[in-house]
């Protein structure tokens, strides 16, 4: 029995190939992601182990609280370096800083994109080689406040050479420095694309933190003192709220941070690999169903001459195992190539990865094999069961057309699965059950619709194909009839495409609704005339003196910087926003329901009404707010507001912000014009000031909306690119089904050709059958995608997604693309069908 299977496979190599490819691509993507994760992780493990090798102990402020932007901690007094140096067993100690600094290239453009890509840091050039992770590639160490060393990556991006003058953006304004050294980080041009500007200790404190403040102290142990011992000794000498780590501990933390950075990326990629495999499973299911139908006579013959049901079942499953094995092995091999490509993708999104040997771990091999084999075999189980049910008598019968598909059982099963999926999804979206149920519900909906597919396929194909007889005559009529003749096959083929289209349309709708909501928010509530955007978020931004200079302009009425910092309000991590309470009210409508922003002083806070309600807070209540620098502070609620566009949940005055937060950066500055000042005059005046701030972009209301939209578009394009794989696999599925159908219809094609169908007409028939299948998949996908999109927007309506926007033009474009994709998928099957030898086709058995 197994030998028959193998012979069958060998005889139809092409079919084996097309079936395997559907799984191969998904496995390759999965293996690629795993290989990438391991390779990059390993590379950075080595890198950090290497650069931290000389560090015995690491001293820093205690973690005040965790946040989405990392652990928040207070800085250390620089004088602590002396204290640590004096500890017995310390050979040498140096203070280090890691704070915002960004280089400006010779064209006045900033280097790096800390909002979307790797951060840009400034720090202290450490004098001790053991402590300094950098090595000079050229030049020397900085000796005065006007000298810096920069990383080699930034030097080549900005085309800098030794002796060049360079502008550096810092907390305390734009500094002009001379590059005296170019350094590498553990042999790499820069760590993960992070840009570094390294100053003398004095300059670093003045520009990056504040005089007398450093972020950490790195320590070298004296001979014979263990790291653990040293850390314990230092811990006794330093004040409270100071944390002392060993070299190994800080290395592990660095490594973990990078691994977490990659894992975000790899989970993202893995999602698409799983989608690809899910789509691939439909192809496998369909291929095997068709094969079983085509071979039912052969199976019946086997049964007639004594094969048991188990043997027939086994032979089909064995074929699936072979397909799965080949696909998994080839996918694994291809995955190494994919990993290289994904690495380029990581570089493109700003996560530079050093070169390192490709790491293929045993877990990668095992996971890929399990995924490939599992998908293949699981998808073949139903067709195999069907094969085993072929009665021996079928060997003697003609196999009739299988136009079934609308059974009551199918209708009920499909509805139940789909309904269950929709319910689970709803529970996750609206019931607050979280992402888990959503991730479970979505595939269930797809499977439910796929089960219902055959019921839908005939009528929908009939409608979709209705213009064909008029447009393409008999060739068109036959195309429509062929698409309708086997609803199970048509719908299973279309279902694979449906998944990709549903996800693409869902994402498109989500993006367009987000953009529409933002745009509407700006239209409705934003009354400012210009926004000066820093292009960063969370790290660095515009020096507050920009807003001061703008305030002095007579052309402007209201000016307010907008700052944010991670905090804990009443124990919950959140972002706290800040601005000039009076000016901000002229710029945006907060929807203040109670109290007044005028009352916001050093210890007052304004709270979003929904947040206040859910916490049971009212005006006059006191809430604890925790800052990294000043610890817990009591704030009194002075105002409640309803619009979260600018202020999110919590808003305090700049006075309160500056008193509690170490680094003052404006992420944006909002501006309204004085009466009688035209937009051109206003822009000219603003631009004159912002020219000194290379990271600032001046946006009017329209540009402001567009800029927010373009960020969404960037993300959207990345997701499109990754979903393209799922769509491509679905198209392979269409081509595969058509090829198998053509094989099955050989005699019919021969007959058609004999009675006068030209090759061109035959190609037309195949092409439009393919188009109908593609359109069926697109129609179903759009229906699901729009429903998902609607549900998601409704679920997020409390989080600022106020508008459900259907992007008609994009959805139409998708339908048009589907038509062309259908045409493309039909090229090879159509060509093969049209080249059929008429005589052989007629007399074939």
């Amino acid at each position: 029995m197994f030998r028959t299977t193998l012979k069958n496979l060998a005889a139809r190599k092409l079919r084996l190939l097309t079936t395997s490819i559907a799984v191969l691509l998904g496995v390759a993507f999965m293996a690629g992601t795993l290989v990438l994760t391991d390779t990059v992780g390993k590379t950075f493990d080595n890198l950090f182990a290497n650069v931290n090798a000389g560090t015995s102990a690491y001293v820093r402020g205690e973690t005040a609280f965790g946040s989405d932007l990392g652990d928040q901690r207070d800085r250390l007094d620089a004088s602590l370096v002396q204290t640590v140096s004096a500890v017995d067993g310390v050979q040498h100690a140096e203070g280090s800083i890691e704070a915002y600094a960004q280089l400006v290239d010779k064209n006045g453009k900033v280097i790096g994109d800390p909002k979307m890509g790797a951060p840009t840091f400034g720090g202290i050039w450490l004098t001790d080689d053991k402590l300094n992770p950098f090595d000079l590639a050229e030049g020397r160490a900085p000796q005065s406040t006007t000298e810096v060393v920069i990383d080699k990556g930034s030097a080549s991006k900005g085309h800098f050479v030794l002796g060049d003058s360079v502008k550096v953006l810092t907390k305390s304004g734009t500094q002009t420095e001379t590059i005296v050294g170019i350094a590498t980080f553990g042999g790499e041009d820069s760590p993960a694309g992070v840009s570094y500007t390294l100053f003398t200790p004095d300059a670093a404190q003045t520009f990056l933190t504040e005089p007398g403040k450093i972020d950490a102290i790195k320590v070298v142990a004296a001979d014979g003192v263990s790291d653990r011992d040293l850390a314990d000794r230092i811990a006794k000498a330093v004040p409270a709220h100071t944390q002392v780590l060993t070299g190994a501990e800080i290395t592990a933390e660095n490594q973990k941070a990078v691994r977490e950075g990659i894992s975000f990326f790899s989970i993202f990629l893995m999602t698409f690999a799983v989608i690809a495999l899910f789509v691939g499973s439909f192809i496998i299911y369909n291929s095997f169903s068709i094969l079983v139908a085509q071979r039912s006579k052969e199976m019946a013959l086997m049964r007639a001459i004594g094969a048991s049901r188990r043997q027939v079942l086994g032979s089909v499953l064995f074929e699936a195992v072979v397909v799965g094995l080949i696909a998994s092995l080839a996918g694994l091999a291809a995955g190494i190539g994919v990993a290289t490509g994904l690495k380029e993708l990581m570089n493109a999104v700003g996560f530079d990865t050093p070169d390192g040997a490709i790491v293929v771990t045993s877990s990668t091999v095992v996971i890929s094999m399990i995924a490939g084999l599992g998908v293949s075999v699981a998808s073949a189980v139903f067709p195999a069961r069907k094969a085993s049910k072929v009665p021996p008598i079928a060997a003697m019968r003609d196999v009739a057309l299988d136009t079934s598909g609308s059974s009551r059982k199918r209708f009920v099963t499909g509805s139940v699965i789909g309904g269950l999926g929709a319910f689970t999804m709803g529970a996750g979206l609206f019931g607050g059950a979280g992402i888990g149920p959503v991730a479970l519900g979505v595939p269930l909906v797809f499977v439910g619709v796929a089960v219902l597919g055959p019921v839908i396929a005939r009528p929908v194909s009939w409608v979709l194909g209705s213009p064909l007889p008029r447009l393409k005559g008999m060739a068109g009529t036959l195309a429509r009839e062929n698409a309708m003749r086997n609803p199970k096959r048509t719908s299973a083929t279309a279902a694979a495409l449906m998944i990709g289209v549903a996800l693409v349309s869902f994402i498109t709708i989500l993006a367009s609704s987000t953009k529409a909501s933002i745009s509407q928010g700006v239209d409705k509530r934003f009354t400012g005339d210009f926004v000066i955007d820093s292009g960063t978020f969370g790290l660095g931004g515009l020096s507050p003196d920009l807003a001061e200079k703008l305030k002095a302009l007579p052309e402007l009425d209201a000016v307010s910087g907008s700052r944010m910092t991670p905090t804990q309000v009443n124990g919950a991590a959140t972002l706290l926003s800040s601005g000039d309470p009076v000016a901000m009210q002229k710029i945006t409508d907060f929807g203040i329901t109670e109290g007044s922003f005028r009352d916001l002083g050093p210890t007052q806070i304004a709270v979003l009404k929904d947040t206040a309600t859910s916490n049971g807070w009212k005006i006059g209540d006191t809430v604890p707010v925790r800052f990294a620098k000043t610890g817990e502070q009591q704030f009194t609620i002075a105002a409640l507001f309803t619009e979260s566009d600018v202020a999110e949940e919590f808003f305090i005055s700049l006075t309160a912000f500056d008193a509690n937060v170490a680094d003052h950066f404006d992420s944006k500055v909002y501006v309204t014009l004085a009466d009688g000042v035209s937009a051109e005059q206003g822009r000219a005046a603003i631009t004159k000031v912002t020219d000194g701030y290379p990271q600032a972009t001046v946006q009017d209301r329209t540009e402001y909306k567009d800029a927010q939209g373009s960020e969404i578009d960037m993300m959207l394009n990345l997701i499109y690119a990754l979903l393209a794989l799922a769509v491509f696999i679905a198209l392979l599925g269409i081509a595969n089904t058509l090829a198998l159908s053509m094989f099955e219809r050989t005699r019919e094609l021969g007959l058609l050709r004999a009675v006068g169908m030209t090759r061109r007409q035959l190609r037309t028939t195949v092409r439009y059958e393919s188009v109908i299948i593609a359109l069926l998949g697109t129609t179903l996908g759009l229906a699901i995608g729009v429903s998902f999109g609607w549900a998601m927007v409704k679920a997020l309506s409390g989080n600022g997604l106020s508008t459900f926007a259907l992007p008609y033009s994009q959805l139409t474009v998708m339908a048009v693309i589907a038509v062309f994709a259908g045409i493309a998928a039909a090229i090879l099957p159509a060509r093969r069908a049209s080249r059929l030898n008429v005589l052989e086709a007629i007399i074939s058995e």
Partner: protein, 254 residues
């Protein structure tokens, strides 16, 4: 090619609508070469029902396939009307089959997704023309399918399916109809019915039919029988009866 290409055999000179001249067809190469047709020259007459007979391997199907434009000769030529088929490409051959030839195969004659009527008018529809309604009605009536036209092939009996095939072959009013064992899959009574329709098509509707068969009874419905053996025409018979055909066939064994 002109209409002067006629068969000169007695008693009357009749118009040839199709035929082969020095037709040779070989398969394979070198030592394994097989000659299926060996220098065959034959004419098929207008408005005549011709049967081609011979033992299996005699080349009777090969002859028909070549004259019908389904296969190409190794040497020699075949013609339909005034068209020499040897120079035609695939598209020209296809259009020729569509316009001038009707086919009745042994099995799998019908497109399963089309109704009986759609199958009958398939060649005309492929040509993008409207069928001649009056003629189609006459044909449908002759083969007795008037109340089955909306049915799909799977809803018809084997005999009914062959009747649809006969109707399809007639519907486009071709110059010649080729039948490849058209009753081979039918029981004798249904087979007789189909052969009767074919004879009616020639006698009453003025069609021309060439039929390959190995059944003497089927051959007896024809007006002329051509006997093939080893790729050559070995005999010919007018006004055949089953017994005379059987007798002639028996002599092949000698």
């Amino acid at each position: 090619m002109s209409e002067t290409l006629t068969c000169t055999s007695p008693p009357v000179t009749r118009l040839a609508v199709a035929g082969a001249i020095n037709a040779t067809k070989q398969y394979g190469k070198g030592d394994t070469i097989v000659t299926a047709l060996d220098n065959v020259t034959v004419d098929f007459h207008a408005h005549e029902f011709t049967a081609i007979m011979g033992p299996s391997g005699s080349g009777k199907s090969t002859l028909m396939h070549n004259v019908a434009g389904l296969d190409t000769l190794t040497s020699g030529s075949v013609y339909i009307g005034n068209t020499d088929l040897s120079g035609l490409n695939d598209k020209q051959l296809t259009l020729l089959r569509r316009e001038k030839i009707g086919f009745i195969f042994q099995a799998f004659n019908l497109v399963p997704t089309l109704s009986a009527l759609e199958n009958i008018t398939l060649p005309t529809a492929l040509a993008g023309r409207k069928p001649d309604r009056a003629w189609v009605d006459l044909v449908v009536e002759t083969v007795g399918l008037a109340n089955r036209l909306k049915h799909r092939p799977s809803e018809l009996s084997g005999g009914q399916q062959q009747r649809v095939a006969v109707a399809r072959a007639l519907a486009s009013q071709p110059e010649i109809i080729f039948g490849d064992e058209p009753t081979g899959n039918l029981d004798s009574r249904t087979g007789a019915e189909i052969l009767d329709f074919m004879r009616k098509a020639v006698r009453d509707l003025g069609q021309t039919i060439v039929m390959v068969t190995h059944d003497p009874v089927a051959a007896s419905y024809a007006e002329r029988v051509i006997f093939l053996a080893d790729g050559r025409i070995v005999d010919e018979m007018s006004s055949p009866t089953p017994d005379r055909v059987l007798d002639r066939l028996k002599r092949f064994g000698d």
